[in-house]
């Protein structure tokens, strides 16, 4: 056992990725026509200038999914990044740091139409950003919202068990639920905090409105609670998308509202203009009491993000954005301009030919 833990501590993401892929290939060999395992994900090159400090980030994030028989599904996502920045922030030579992470590595058991039991490492289900909007091939803005650390400490992933599913599914209303418990882990690539929580959301498919609440209790060190609420509106007759989230923790709280509008009503989504999608996000955080470890700005912060996304053919996207941040008690220090630019490619392939 000791030996196993010792070895596990030294496993890195790239080895895990190959190992997982190999295991899934072995187990999923009997896959039938439509259930060939897939490898998907995103590849990107990100550039950011934050208050004069310039960074480059080549990133690859593969997702491996393999159905195992009728009721099981194995899925995993990894993240590899070379973070290249100046040695002293805004001066000095450029140097790189390799970052690797196992974001999830889970086995899902589809117990019934309304219940899925998940075991392993999974994304912490608090709010909407961490689970649904964070992947580089989905995110609209390169930078995560300022409140994204609330409810998802310490790594955004949890190790343990989760139940999730749909309580009610009607043509005009849908109720989804998630409940989880995570154990504390300091094993490399599987770091997680001891925590528990839940999320309930109601979705109205005809109006395409979603309202939800999240709760998390941090169960190590000083125990504390986090609460969250989200509201999404994606009108069916328009390319407008409105997403928002509010989160509250013991020492800080905040919100973000994001609106996007793809100009697809101008000669269709494939036209030159129809591929353009202007973006806007407003966010604010409020500090209730000092807490250096909660991942939120140390002072009250307001930030406006203006972005432009261009959807190129073949699943390639170019994103650019400018953000203005105001963050200080006296209004002078901590204010910054943030310029982001990225190009991402989303891929989706069968892992082998499969049966017809």
């Amino acid at each position: 056992m000791h030996s196993f833990i010792h070895h596990a501590k030294h496993l890195n993401s790239s080895r895990l990725f190959y190992l997982t892929s190999l295991l899934l290939l072995c187990f999923a060999k009997a896959a039938v026509a439509q259930n060939t395992p897939t490898i998907s994900g995103g590849v990107g090159f990100l550039n950011s200038t934050n208050a004069g400090a310039n960074f480059f980030q080549p990133v690859v994030s593969p997702v491996v999914v393999a159905p195992l028989g009728k009721d099981f599904l194995a899925e995993s996502r990894f993240y590899f990044e070379e973070f290249v920045g100046r040695k002293n922030g805004t001066s000095g030579p450029y140097e790189g740091t390799f970052i690797k992470d196992t974001q999830y590595l889970q086995l899902d058991y589809l117990a019934s139409s309304h219940l899925t039991v998940v075991g392993g490492r999974y994304l912490t289900p608090f709010g909407t950003y961490n689970e649904r909007l964070a992947p580089i091939w989905i995110q609209k803005f390169q930078d995560a919202p300022l409140i994204s650390a609330i409810g998802t400490r310490t790594t955004g992933s949890s190790d343990g068990g989760m139940i999730r599913g749909v309580l009610l599914s009607r043509p005009n209303a849908q109720v989804n639920y998630v409940g989880y418990f995570s154990a504390s882990s300091s094993v490399s690539q599987f770091q997680a905090a001891r925590a528990m929580g839940d999320r309930i959301e109601v979705y109205f498919p005809n109006k395409r409105i979603e309202i939800g609440t999240s709760y998390a209790r941090f169960l190590q060190g000083t125990h504390n609670n986090s609460f969250g609420a989200h509201f999404w509106w994606l009108p069916p007759s328009s390319p407008l998308q409105v997403r928002s989230e509010y989160a509250h923790s013991e020492h800080a709280q905040g919100y973000w509202i994001e609106t996007t509008y793809r100009l697809s009503q101008w000669r269709g989504p494939e036209s030159f203009v129809g591929r353009i999608e202007p973006l806007f996000r407003m966010q604010q955080t409020f500090r209730n009491s000092p807490s250096p470890g909660d991942g939120l700005p140390a002072a009250d912060t307001q930030q406006a993000d203006f972005g432009l996304q261009y959807h190129l053919p073949h699943e390639v996207r170019v994103n650019t954005s400018y953000s203005r941040k105001f963050s200080s008690p006296n209004g002078t220090n901590g204010n910054a301009n943030i310029w982001d630019m990225s190009i991402t490619y989303r891929f989706l392939f069968p892992m082998w030919r499969g049966k017809e």
Partner: protein, 111 residues
């Protein structure tokens, strides 16, 4: 200075390694897609239907696809029908779909 240069070399080597991995992954993907056969690719937006019943099924599936999957992301431009089941199963877990929703969306993606 020497250490710095060595560090820079490591950094460049890592970037090269990552870039070549991306290139290989991309090429492997393109080859897999070519092998899967362009003519067999599914387009979620334009399902092929054969009878009025399957038309209705596909319509229900399309509605569910638009209501659930495209809440977070755009539909993939094209993919092989042999992975349609895997994609929908993945989405069932991610988007908390019911078994019926999974079935309907699968009928739309791979009629």
């Amino acid at each position: 200075m020497k250490t710095l240069r060595a560090h820079e070399r490591v950094c460049i080597a890592r970037i090269l390694l990552l870039s070549s991995s991306l290139l290989i992954l991309g090429m492997a993907g393109l080859m897999a897609q070519a092998k899967a056969g362009g003519s067999q690719g599914s387009k979620p937006k334009e399902p092929a239907t054969t009878s009025p019943d399957s038309d209705q099924d596909a319509e229900a599936g399309q509605k569910k696809f638009q209501a659930n999957c495209s809440r977070c992301h755009d539909a993939p431009e094209q993919f092989s029908p042999r992975i349609a089941g895997t994609i929908v199963r993945h989405m069932r877990v991610r988007a908390s779909l019911s078994a019926q929703d999974e079935k309907d969306i699968l009928k739309f993606l791979a009629p």
